[in-house]
Symmetry: C2
Subunit: 251 residues, 2 copies
Amino acid sequence: MKPNLYQEKHRIMYYETDMTSRLSLGMLLNLAVLVSEDQIDHLHVGTQLLQGDHIGWVVIQYSIHVNRLPKNNEVVTLSTQSKYYNQFLAEREFLIKDASGKVCAKIDSNWILLNLRTRKLILIKPDLIKPYGAQLVPVLPHLRRPYPIKNQHDTVSRIYRVRYSDIDINHHVNNAKYLNWMCDVLKPYFLVQHVPQDINIKFSHEVKYGTNVTSRVKMIKQDSNTVFTRHEITSNHQISAVANVKWIHKN
Amino acid sequence: MKPNLYQEKHRIMYYETDMTSRLSLGMLLNLAVLVSEDQIDHLHVGTQLLQGDHIGWVVIQYSIHVNRLPKNNEVVTLSTQSKYYNQFLAEREFLIKDASGKVCAKIDSNWILLNLRTRKLILIKPDLIKPYGAQLVPVLPHLRRPYPIKNQHDTVSRIYRVRYSDIDINHHVNNAKYLNWMCDVLKPYFLVQHVPQDINIKFSHEVKYGTNVTSRVKMIKQDSNTVFTRHEITSNHQISAVANVKWIHKN
């Protein structure tokens, strides 16, 4: 069985970019969710199969490689396909390509099926995944777990109150906001001088409206051109997300 | 001279909507700026005439009437035209129409020309406005000034730290964020139960990165179906924006 590739064009809007006029990391995740939702609609596996039973796909990890972040007004092609799944997990790949066909970013991701009311895991039945052309495998391609912050020494943190605009239709914090909190805790001059090359982010507990989160970062400088950062988002003394980012100096 | 009407189609993305799956108020302003920037590019009055001299159009007031906020995935037509100007001010009208041609929202606005380096007012010379087909008039159509909060009695306020993601390419806070702060200070159950019908927002001082702002609101209940709110955003003891909103209960 061949996986179904779904793709669409997207123009990068100025409000999807940051201070540097390049697509923001949060919006990169929004574009991934956008094209996966559109594939669900395209394959007609949305309303009937999912919403009727209050079942939804929830992402638990993104591993992102960025060659370059597309700029304001650029028209890119977003594509996605799901090649493999097992009973508990489905993988999904995203590509963002520029007009010349060059890959701007590649995202590998792992998804689970949840009962959106009880938040309990649902086993992935073949009829739900069949339209994607995904193949049942005993072991999924491995996404490396991001390293946690082991000790608090030399960390910087900040508390964020969840805002109304952070909440999506499911009354949970939109995943893109985690990356905003992770970036915001870094200094603006660092963000302007560096570009993210690899981002590995794993979500463990969802954040709800009305809570405060702490965004903590530890910087591990490698050399004059490369900086590694380790991030965690905690809420109610529980880790909500862990991420590792490799940054390259712009020169 | 007939004003040049510029229009384009736009699909409402899920990340442009709020908890109710309708276009958020902040994104409504982003769409207005988007279509006005696109008209500037279309008329070739951008790069050469503005950026070379570090001159930019800055909005000082929006008066918005909402019939209904478009929903997630809806394709709307955004249009804009500038009919009138004088030496100091240009007016610009925006329409958001749905697929059947019905007006979802109408926005009237006033703009000034600023030297983006010195932040000083620039007189609007005819050659800059000519491509828009705008007409020089002694007095512009009047946009009513929003009522300020006269006394602090019965107001609710909250302090917001400007985040990295609030800042745009000009290193200032994106105007849409003011409306986010104004909405966030209201209760979520109020925002879910009410829809904004009229929004009148006037900007006076720009907010820069690294500052805190206070968002203050006073509710003036009219009857069971209508609520008026008065908002102000202050920064460094200076008023940055004042807004009045008329809300209708959804029933």
